[in-house]
Amino acid sequence: MATSALPTLPTADVGHGYTTTGLPHRKVAIWAFIGSECMLFASLISTYLIYKGRSVKGPFPHEPWTDPANGHVFKPILNIPVTSCSTFVLLMSSLAMVLALAAVENRDKPKVSLGDKILGSSRLWLLMTALLGITFLGFQAFEFTSFVHEGLSIRTNLFGSSFFTLTGFHGAHVTAGVIWLLTMLAIDFKRGLGPKDALNVDIMALYWHFVDVVWIAIFTLIYLIK
């Protein structure tokens, strides 16, 4: 029972910042966060698919629709060529992102050739990632405005509601990623990112790639499958 003396537990000689797995806290947390985001996008995608083909009026994603009230014919709303381009842009931004991370991790390695210097420039690749992200958002803005012009808003029908909410959520994630990238780029210009910043860039990269893979799923499930 309660002894007046405290038992002395064996102690471990570990420094401040010791972690059980040897992995940094923030990287564990971002993976847990990404796991959680899987469920977020699963719910959004499920809703889109459940409501697919249930709108009582058009416009529709893949089929034309004639408004019975005035005989106006709406084209199929999705613009596959444009979205294919934006998909390609987002895929390439992931390439730029891994190169930015590699550049930050290998900042201290000697760079001899011009190729080494280009590949080793974290600023170039961070800027490239951010620009590609902004291009993707530009495509999305173009897509949204042209849909609205063609007569599909978030209020029009079930397709509009679920489409704009799903892709809007994804766009908001891309926007957050672009802000993150630009902040990191500003830090790079201010003091230069070195290997000790690799963790922060790594976490940002994981987030960015996750947003990219979500788009891979959305592109197939929403745009390509009729």
Partner: protein, 670 residues
């Protein structure tokens, strides 16, 4: 049992005096945050309890008009919402905060500022969702807020706005805490604390965090749809536009059923700590307890549609969800039996804590059995939406979650404050609670079987329900008195209770090796863990001698197992000098505990940035309801100010260091 150790230590440090309210607003200490969670949840327990008392007073006899139908709707909605989101989850969070770092041998959680943020979001969200009841504008569509009932067409007014936005705010709090605790448990265990040595509470907390981070996004999406429908005119729940009335129900219950386990598993964890201590036996079947906890978590995602049998899902879905629901009874039953076998043959000490734990085993079993009745779709069709279901979930949530949390309160209050709760008041609390809750909830089985529907604000006489309702009301009043006794006990004992000492109960886990309340750094030296019950290995080795100790991993952490075992035989425990939880820092009776600075342990800065970030979030979302009041100026001002505060504080937070620089730059993990 003479549970109270001789007060051979300094009087416990008092958290509530000293640096004043600023130290609370800016704290990042997991124990202080746990303290804040605890008292806020206790307040809301009284709040939700008062709502329940009013509901019961209305239903005491047929044809009463103590409340109007509208007030009644608000009260039962807010009773459910309060008890689930503002009482049981935060009380569990109080224990997560207080216990997880102590049980795994850590100095704080992985992200102390995020932890503070979670609390402030919870507090502000709780105020946001609760305050409208004073203006007769509280949510009024049930805690599950079924759409399309909650859309503008059927619920005009602000009531549901507060509910939807409040739920969104509270969800952010739980999610942030979830990521934090997952990281803490994975990454901050003391050397040697492998997963199969983790205390059962930490294990159940670990499972719960995964349930939270995987279930809350789903309800977030469902509520986002509702908010968009209400504010931006989307069609997610507009049946005329082709929407499916079951969408909300499915999304909500995909969250809602794991939520049930989010509510009950922490209580299971607490009971699994309390029963071994007071039975003087290690937990029976520890690995099976772990696996069944995980299995409950996994299966918990596969049973949601049993809440919806009455909508007519078809034979295949009914069968699948009926079977999975029956399956989940297996791991739950395993836990019940393991608790019984833990007590079997033990020398049981009946303290208030252990009595509440035993109470949980009994009461939860009753609720579990009526739950299995619901798993059969034909039976469920008879019981759904009657008081039989009300009886069931009060047995599992009151008899399960709350009784377990009460056990935890009596068990861990000394660790939190350094003072024991009064056992005399505790006994009154326990007995009134058991008698009152059974009197309140057992008759509901009968009124439900006789067909009394849920959520009716009054009923006609001569349906055979009168006596049962009167009994339930009397029981509810007794429970109310019991809860007041708990509050009085806490308020009195917080300062004046018997001094607890480090280990008033003779328990086996790490948190009892350090002073009560623990110093800000918890462990002067990070312990090296060599078994599941490190304290019992030292104080009562006979208790753990029968248990197969897992020695796996000891070699890799360079622990001298033999040396440790000889250590306690060789009289380390007989050492007359108490030490402050570690080697080499002797503490005389009455001597003070060394400060963090003296030990060279860096402590995170006090910071109000998480508070202001939480405030920004809440202010931003509180702008939205003004859209329904035709006050766009107020709406946009609040949205803009809140968003600016949120973004500004967040940037300020993320760009400022957590704690002073340390001399160990090679470990840069934060």
């Amino acid at each position: 049992m003479a549970t109270i150790a001789a007060p051979s230590y300094a009087a416990p440090a008092d958290y509530s005096v000293g640096e004043g309210w600023r130290s609370w607003l800016g704290t990042t200490d997991h124990k202080k945050i746990g303290y804040l969670y605890f008292f806020t949840a206790l307040f809301f327990l009284m709040f939700g309890g008062a709502e329940a008392e009013m509901i019961r007073w209305q239903l005491r006899a047929p044809n009463q008009h103590f409340l109007t139908a509208e007030t009644y709707n608000q009260l039962f909605t807010m009773h459910g919402t309060t008890m689930i989101f503002l009482v049981v989850m935060p009380l569990s969070a109080a224990f997560f905060n207080l216990l997880i770092p102590l049980q795994i041998g850590a100095r704080d959680v992985a992200f102390p500022r995020l932890n503070a943020f979670s609390y402030w979001v919870y507090l502000l969200g709780a105020i946001f969702i609760s305050a409208p009841i004073f203006f007769n504008a509280a949510p009024n569509a049930g805690w599950f807020g079924y759409a399309p009932l909650t859309t503008n067409a059927y619920s005009p007014g602000l009531n549901i706005d507060f509910w939807a936005l409040g739920l969104q705010i509270l969800g952010i709090s739980s999610l942030a805490a979830g990521f934090n605790f997952i990281t803490t448990i994975i990454n901050m265990r003391a050397p040697g604390m492998n997963l199969m040595r983790m205390p059962m509470f930490t294990w159940m907390a670990f499972v719960v965090q995964f349930l939270i981070v995987l279930a809350f996004p789903v309800v977030t999406v469902a509520v986002v749809f509702l908010v968009f429908d209400r504010f931006f005119g989307t069609n997610f729940y507009t049946i005329a536009a082709g929407a499916d009335p079951l969408l909300w129900q499915h999304l909500f219950w995909v969250f809602g059923h794991p939520e049930v386990y989010i509510l009950v598993l922490p209580a299971f964890g607490l009971v699994s700590e309390v029963l071994p201590t007071f039975s003087r036996k290690p937990l029976f079947g520890y690995p099976v307890m772990v696996y069944s906890g995980i299995l409950i978590g996994v299966l918990g995602f596969g049973v949601w549609a049993h809440h919806m049998f009455a909508v007519g899902l078809g034979p295949i879905a009914d069968t699948v969800f009926g079977v999975t629901t029956m399956l989940i009874a297996i791991p739950t039953g395993v836990k019940i039996f393991n608790w019984i076998f833990t007590m079997w043959g033990g020398s049981i000490h009946f303290t208030t804590a252990s009595m509440f734990a035993i109470g949980l085993v009994g009461m939860f079993t009753i609720g579990g059995i009526s739950g299995i009745m619901h798993s059969s779709p034909p039976a469920d069709l008879q019981q759904t939406d009657t008081y039989f279901v009300v009886a069931h979930f009060h047995y599992v949530l009151f008899g399960g979650s709350l009784m377990g949390l009460f056990a935890g309160i009596y068990y861990y209050f000394p660790k939190l404050t350094g003072h024991l709760l009064s056992e005399r008041l505790g006994q009154w609390h326990f007995w009134l609670n058991v008698v009152g809750s059974n009197l309140a909830f057992f008759p509901m089985h009968f009124s439900g079987m006789l067909g009394m529907p849920r959520r009716v604000y009054t009923y006609d006489a001569n349906q055979g329900w009168d006596t049962f309702n009167m009994l339930s009301t009397i029981g509810a009043i007794i429970v109310g008195v019991a809860s007041l006794i708990l509050v009085v006990n806490i308020l009195i004992s917080r300062k004046r209770g018997a001094i607890a000492g480090n280990d008033p109960w003779g328990a086996g886990t790490l948190e009892w090796s350090i002073p009560s309340p623990p110093p800000v750094y918890n462990f002067a030296h990070i312990p090296r863990v060599t078994s599941r019950y490190p304290m019992w290995d030292l104080t009562s080795p006979h208790l753990t001698s029968d248990v197969p100790h897992s020695k796996a991993g000891d070699q890799s952490i360079e622990v001298d197992v033999a040396g440790v075992e000889q250590g306690h035989v060789g009289g380390r425990t007989a050492s007359a000098q108490p030490t402050a939880g570690g080697r080499g820092v002797p503490v005389d009776s009455g001597a003070r505990i060394p400060t963090a600075a003296e030990l060279g342990i860096p402590i995170p800065y006090t910071t109000t940035k998480p508070f202001f970030t939480a405030l920004g979030l809440t202010v931003m979302l509180s702008g939205l309801p003004f859209a329904h009041m035709d006050k766009p100026v107020v709406q946009y001002v609040l949205l803009f100010c809140g968003a600016s505060l949120l973004v500004g504080s967040l940037y300020w937070w993320l760009t400022s260091p957590l704690e002073p620089e340390v001399e160990h730059p090679q470990h840069t993990a934060h």
